[in-house]
């Protein structure tokens, strides 16, 4: 079996799981298990496919499909294999998680939800492996529609419907731009096949237009600011396992799209492309995390934080594109490496955090941070998993987020010595914004963990919460292991990702890792050893213990008192800092940036209102069409039919006469 066959097996298993789940809809419990196990098995097959493709050669397969739009190519090159692996791991964790998590919804149509979840995973797998633009679009739209149904699962809530509508609007607007981009490709090359498009010589103007269309179209789906407005609503409305999948991997299919079209197919030859990507990266990184800080709803907070992370990924892609345009292979390699690494890391830690938020929601029935508090003592495993996710996303060493941000810094640093002055100005500024975003992200996750898991319980349900069920905790810890492995195993992971980054046209392969070290192609520029950081940190933890032991400090023991010190007053849990007061000084400091939020929201609400008006118009114009066009036509047809009946005598001789007359008329017309 090769990688493609495994992939087809995976899609088949997912499809069977989806259908079985739909058929068993009448028993929620059964369909929950069938969909979950189907998703897990399908994901395992996809993971095997990804590993096969990464260790052996890239594989392709053409399926014969009787449609005239070119060939149905499935292709597993490095980039596709990486994305497949990412989707597979997250698909596995989310499916395992869903089995217990969805228990609370047993009164609903879980069969339908399971159907759409498995279809969603299958479509993501096909999107990242199909090598033909037409089929790409088909799968892309099916993926969007499947995820839309996941978003509107709790459809009796008004905000859910609103979130779903906004999601649909932005996703389809983006989808339309992508479609136009592909049609322009078709117009320029006469083919939908990626292989043909890659070879084609398109005019610069056409390339520029395609780049803009694809970048904005995919950017909308990736949640790049200011096109991110659908994300907080959609992610918080969807069930936790679905929002984990959407935030961690569906977003990466859009990153895949940007890499595939703008870099792989178009070959990022213009400098301003990279500059534009860096610009949007900067906006997303800063605005995303600032807006996240103002949130109290845990899932909305995580959604905004995803905007920030897309910004960081875009920093990497932008640096890589700048490197390609200015013919600096090291910059290109480091930029794409950083982007791929961060994309991979983000799917692990953001998936983990969404699953953690779902576990809290499962036990508390609330996503409001002000209703939580003290959960680390009642849900210790969830708390630990969430803390590791928080440390990873805040780029704290020795976790995985730090490694990818380190590579992003190194890419920007290398780009900073570019001969081009504009690049030399903007690359260091992007690095500073990355540092600012990092500091803000640390604050954000201190707020998130601190108000949910530390301190006193702020509500009745929080004080009675229990640990999440074993299946949910297990799936979180699968991702925790992933976060640790991607951090400590950096010297092993980096060469694989560098291989993918080097496969883009114009990039070249260079060593970036050896034994326990990683370095940005030039070891003299910088060097990092994650295993040693971890070992040294753990080892140095012993120093204070030894010092205390030397002074006999452990003999003194520890006394537990019920309350913290409050200057002699009686302690109330209200005295602790809440989620909404934690960011208050920040709101003052960055007041002007927070004013942007309504400014961004307004045109979108206006667009939504316009779309609604348009729909109204169509609805109202429907009767008009009926009374002016449809009904008169129908009446005319009826009238003619009635009168033509007169010709029908039922007599064979009369019919013969008709034929002869017709022939005579025709002969006269032709020969005159």
């Amino acid at each position: 079996m090769d990688a493609i066959q495994l992939l087809l097996l995976s899609v088949t298993v997912l499809g069977v799981g989806a259908l079985a789940s739909l058929l068993l809809n009448s028993s929620s419990r059964t369909s929950r298990y069938v969909a979950g196990i189907g998703g897990m098995l399908g994901s395992l097959a996809a993971l095997a496919a990804a590993i096969f493709a990464l260790i052996s050669k890239p594989a392709t397969l053409e399926l014969l499909v009787p449609l005239p739009f070119g060939h149905f190519f499935l292709q597993m090159d490095g980039l596709s294999a990486l994305m497949t692996g990412m989707i597979a791991v997250l698909g596995f964790a989310a499916s395992l998680y869903s089995i217990r998590y969805l228990e609370q919804f047993d009164q609903r149509n879980l069969g339908v939800l399971g159907f759409f979840t498995n279809i969603f995973i299958a479509m993501m797998l096909l999107v990242v492996t199909v090598a033909n633009a037409f089929y790409f679009l088909v799968f892309w739209e099916m993926m969007t529609v499947a995820s839309y149904f996941l978003v509107i699962f709790e459809s009796e809530k008004k905000e859910t419907i609103r979130a779903g509508y906004l999601y649909m609007l932005v996703a389809h607007a983006g989808g339309a731009l992508i479609m136009v981009a592909f049609f322009l490709f078709f117009a320029g090359t006469g083919s939908f096949d990626f292989a043909v498009i890659r070879q084609a010589q398109l005019s610069p103007a056409l390339r520029n237009i395609i780049f803009l269309l694809a970048f904005i179209g995919f950017g909308a789906k990736a949640g790049m600011a200011p096109l991110h407005i659908w994300m907080p609503g959609a992610y918080s409305a969807a069930p936790a396992h679905a929002s984990a999948l959407m935030a961690s991997v569906m977003k990466k299919t859009a990153i895949y799209g940007i890499l595939r079209i703008c870099v792989d197919l178009l070959g990022a030859s213009m400098l301003w492309w990279g500059a534009l990507v860096l610009f949007f990266g900067a906006i997303s990184a800063i605005l995303g995390v600032l807006f996240a800080l103002a949130e109290r709803d845990l899932k909305r907070l995580l959604a905004y934080s995803s905007v920030e992370n897309v910004g960081i990924i875009l920093f990497g892609i932008g640096a890589g594109m700048v490197g390609l345009a200015t013919l600096q292979p090291i910059v290109a390699l480091l930029g794409f490496l950083a982007a791929l690494y961060h994309a991979l890391n983000h799917s692990f830690f953001k998936g983990l955090l969404f699953l953690g938020a779902g576990a809290v929601d499962y036990r508390l029935g609330s996503r409001d941070l002000n209703q939580m508090g003290g959960l680390a003592r009642r849900m210790p495993w969830t708390g630990l998993a969430f803390l590791i996710g928080a440390l990873a996303v805040a780029a704290i060493p020795p976790f995985n987020g730090f490694v990818s941000e380190w590579f992003t810094y190194q890419a920007l640093f290398t780009a900073s010595s570019d001969p081009n002055f504009v690049v030399r100005v903007f690359a260091p500024l992007c690095a500073v914004l990355l540092a600012l975003a990092g500091a803000l992200a640390a604050m954000l996750y201190i707020k998130a963990y601190g108000s949910a898991f530390s301190g006193p319980a702020h509500s009745q349900s929080a004080s009675q919460a229990q640990e999440a069920p074993g299946g949910m905790v297990t799936s979180m810890f699968i991702l925790v292991v992933g976060c640790l492995a991607l951090g400590l195993g950096a010297p092993l992971v980096t060469p694989i990702l560098a291989g993918v980054a080097a496969s883009f046209p114009g990039a070249t392969s260079m060593p970036v890792a050896s034994s326990i070290w990683v370095f940005p192609a030039k070891p003299d520029q910088a060097i990092l050893s994650m295993p040693m950081v971890a070992i040294l940190l753990l080892g140095l933890l012993a120093v204070p213990f030894v010092v205390i032991a030397l002074y006999g400090g452990f003999k003194a023991g520890r006394r537990i008192v019920p309350d913290p010190w409050t200057c002699g007053y009686g302690y109330k849990s209200r005295m602790s800092v809440s989620a909404s007061s934690f960011d208050q000084p920040l709101k003052l400091t960055f007041r002007s940036l927070y004013l942007l939020r309504p400014a961004i929201q307004k045109p979108l609400d206006a667009t939504a209102a316009w779309a609604k008006r348009f729909r109204e118009l169509i609805r109202r114009s429907e009767p008009l069409i009926e009374s002016w066009i449809t009904r008169p036509t129908a009446r005319a047809v009826e009238y003619i039919g009635e009168h033509i009946q007169a010709l029908q005598m039922g007599d064979i001789r009369v019919y013969c006469l008709y034929i002869i007359l017709t022939l005579a008329v025709l002969l006269i017309v032709i020969f005159k």
Partner: protein, 317 residues
Amino acid sequence: MTGETSFTASMIVIGLLQALLILLLAPLFSGFSRVLRAKMHSRKGPSIYQNYRDLVKLMKRQEVVAEQAGWVFHLTPYITMACMLLAALLIPIFSVQSPFNQVGDLILVIYLFALARFFFSLSGLETGSTFGGIGARREQLLSVLIEPVMLLVLFVIALLSGSTNLGIISRQIATGQTPFYTSVWLGMLAFAFAAFVEMGKLPFDVGEAEQELQEGPLAEFSGRSLAVLKWGLYMKQMVLVALFLAVFLPFGSMTTASLPGIVLAIVAFFLKVTLFYFIVGILENAMARVRFVKASAVTWAALGAAILSFVFYLANV
């Protein structure tokens, strides 16, 4: 791995020596600034060794902890100290080579501070104490304002040396390969300011009521935890000074490892740190306090200096 990134026995010894020295001397320099403050207030003040006595005494005391505090709270003092020790291994203090340069570069050092701060702030929220919570959020706001400044300055200096390896930066400044351009001077100014704020000095902190503001999370610690945490914070101040000296004033450090060289380097380091603490002490006590919400108005000056340094770097002067 050869040349700049070699990992020799002598460097390991020097690294461990650096960490040990920071560990042992940090309370002394904090004591020095206490004495200095007392003298400026025309008080008699404590002995310069008072911090050691405090630490030893605290370590023998029973620890009193609020019930709500979890393992994050209990681990914080140890993590803080471990981070500072690791930073002390990475920063070139005695020689112009980062002793453990195989482990990481200046970006790692900056993020080690972030790791310590993450746990420090979280420990303030762990107990549900009001002081802890407010201290945590102030700590975070300052880091948001200061961290980009530090990174920009270090980035500019690193660009001048073509490397983010602290040892290479230090050597190039020490040997004059990176001349003292205007950008370096401005960067020095901005970084000194940033270090001043990071050390928990005025204009945002009150010397005498340290648990009031930035050190709010300390309020709930007691006994050995308080001792280790305070020690860790003393070390943080000294590590910051060492980082400043390594990047901007690496004079007197060894270029090749030798016994007389190391003695000379230790003496030079001691004098430089004393001078830095002296200047900081004078400034700290000569300054008015600023309302915390005005913090950004003051730190913009540091950011401005850092950006100017960057502009001068671009202009090559």
